[in-house]
């Protein structure tokens, strides 16, 4: 784990070099980078990535924890910085700070059933969980991945999803909000898939990542099925300027999402997410 060195400047990035870039969707790319002295990370953590001359933004790490030779990020182009990031080609350099944030408590779920619910680009931050689950398959109980995308053309990591789906040791269901004629899968919100999923609620740990509205529905659905609120973990997003609790932007109630989160359990978030514009 990355131990902060009080003698160095936490706002100072190191240079990272892009080694590979894959286009996932029309507006989403995944790239791999190298960084000297990378300390490794835990699932759910994020980096602050800086495109020089454009800006710096938080981006979750979407690769496997076990391979610390490369750092993988999946980025959707939504605004100036993410656009500039998504446009970087292999060989390009950028600034990196991290990893930061409280991780998904994956290892704590060993011996239990695991449900992963992801919506849209939310699949990227939970992918490290899935790698851990599969690398240590025997350590976990039943594993379910429920994924919702807006439309079939917006399904992220399509090939990987297919591979996971063909495994016999995990349940993978994919649904879309809107479907063309040739779609034969589920249509509708991802939470609708919860009921049919196979897990033992009392012994289940859930990981939820996606738009806030989806998080709310999924968490409520899971509690309705009997999963304890403290066993439901979710990842939150707020504006972040520093990623380390100094800038103040990411506060939600008493929490700094960057350093206290971004991963929280539902017992903690539910009362806060109920308050409008908190």
């Amino acid at each position: 784990m990355h131990a902060p060195d009080p003698h160095t400047d936490p706002m100072l990035p190191v240079i990272a070099r892009i080694t590979r870039r894959t286009r996932e969707l029309s507006d989403v790319v995944t790239f791999e980078m190298e960084v000297e002295g990378w300390p490794g990370f835990e699932p759910g953590q994020f980096n602050m990535l800086a495109v020089f001359g454009v800006g710096e933004i938080p981006i979750s790490i979407s690769g496997p924890v076990s391979d610390s030779s490369k750092i993988i990020h999946t980025i959707r182009d939504v605004g100036p910085v993410s656009r500039a990031l998504a446009a970087l080609e292999p060989g390009a350099v950028l600034g990196l700070r991290g990893p930061y944030g409280a991780p998904w408590p994956v290892k704590a779920a060993r011996g239990r059933d695991v449900v992963v619910v992801a919506g849209g680009l939310g699949l990227a931050p939970v992918r490290p969980i899935l790698y851990e689950l599969m690398e240590n398959r025997d350590a976990y109980g039943k594993i379910t991945l429920l994924y919702g995308a807006r439309s079939p053309s917006e399904i992220l990591f399509r090939e990987e999803l297919g591979a996971w789906r063909s495994r016999l040791d995990m349940g993978v269901e994919v649904t879309v909000d809107r479907a063309p004629e040739d779609w034969h899968g589920h249509v509708g919100v991802v939470t609708a898939l919860l009921r049919a999923a196979d897990f033992a609620p009392a012994n289940t740990t859930a990981f939820v990542c996606g738009p806030e509205i989806m998080i709310r529905f999924a968490a409520n659905g899971l509690t309705d099925l009997g999963v304890a609120a403290t066993d439901i973990h979710l990842s939150m997003e707020r504006n972040m300027q520093c990623g380390i609790g100094l800038c103040g932007h990411c506060q939600l109630g008493p929490y700094f999402l960057c350093k206290d989160g971004p991963v929280f359990d539902w017992a903690t978030m539910k009362p806060l997410m109920r308050i409008k514009e908190l």
Partner: protein, 257 residues
């Protein structure tokens, strides 16, 4: 945009001050000319509009004549990015004071042969006529903003022209609040930042030349101005200057008719 982007500078009804700001960037103007192709800028060059496409069009001034209302459509059609410069282009400018008044009375007041004058009844912002990609505030715009806008556009980042109150710049500059410490009326709390809080730095209240900020609470400010002794007419005048046609200011002036 490959190569140097082509820039055009267009003028509508205005005082020329905002486009002059570009020539007032003495330290940067040659660098600007190096980084972008100044293809059309009649105030600075004899080169004529070649009728072609421009990557960036800077538009100064408001629409006050039928001819202008037509011209802006053509400019939009020939520009990738339309950026308005200053209060005239962004809210109508000082000449929008004629909105609501009788144009005929105005013409009669100034010209001996009113029949020679061709003008619309209103002075309106560019965005009333065509889609605008970015608006730079101020009467006049700030040079720093202009250079920031050009640098940001070239770098592909968002320009830092925050929409918050002038008060933030005022406090950052270390000025003492003229409203609190001297009781002077100041529009800083409802005015878009950008000038660096010039007026309070010169011991006067902000007169709102950058127009309304995000979520301006003009009613609450007016109530305070009244408590400090401003009468209705003064309050109306305060809001009725260079951004008189910006909705938040217009409504607040109207509430003090």
């Amino acid at each position: 945009m490959t190569g140097r982007p082509r820039l055009a500078v267009w003028k509508f009804s205005s005082c020329d001050g905002c486009q002059l700001s570009l020539l007032d960037c003495e330290d940067e103007v040659l660098a600007v000319a190096g980084a972008i192709e100044i293809a059309y800028f009649p105030e600075a060059t004899r080169r004529e509009d070649d009728g072609g496409h421009y990557d960036i069009s800077f538009v100064e001034g408001s629409v006050t004549t039928p001819h202008e209302a037509e011209a802006i459509k053509d400019i939009r059609a020939r520009s990738t990015t339309v950026i308005t410069l200053g209060a005239c282009a962004t809210s109508g400018g000082i000449q929008a004071l004629k909105n609501g008044a009788s144009t005929k009375d105005f013409i009669d007041a100034v010209y001996a042969h009113p029949e020679f004058i061709d003008t619309l009844d209103t002075a309106t912002p560019i965005s009333d006529h065509v889609k605008v990609d970015f608006e730079l505030r101020g009467c006049p715009i700030s040079k720093t903003h202009l250079i920031e806008l050009i640098a940001a556009t070239l770098a592909g980042r968002a320009p830092q022209t925050p929409a918050h109150a002038t008060c933030i710049e005022c406090k950052m500059a270390g000025h003492v609040c003229v409203m609190v410490a001297e009781g002077k009326p100041c529009l800083g709390p409802v005015t878009h930042a950008g000038c660096g809080a010039l007026c309070p730095g010169y011991a006067r209240g902000c007169y709102g030349c950058f127009g309304p900020k995000e979520t301006p609470n003009t009613a609450a400010l007016s109530a305070r101005l009244a408590e400090n002794g401003a009468d209705r007419r003064q309050i109306r005048r305060l809001y009725s200057t260079y951004n008189t046609n910006a909705p938040a200011f217009r409504e607040e002036a109207k509430a003090h008719d």
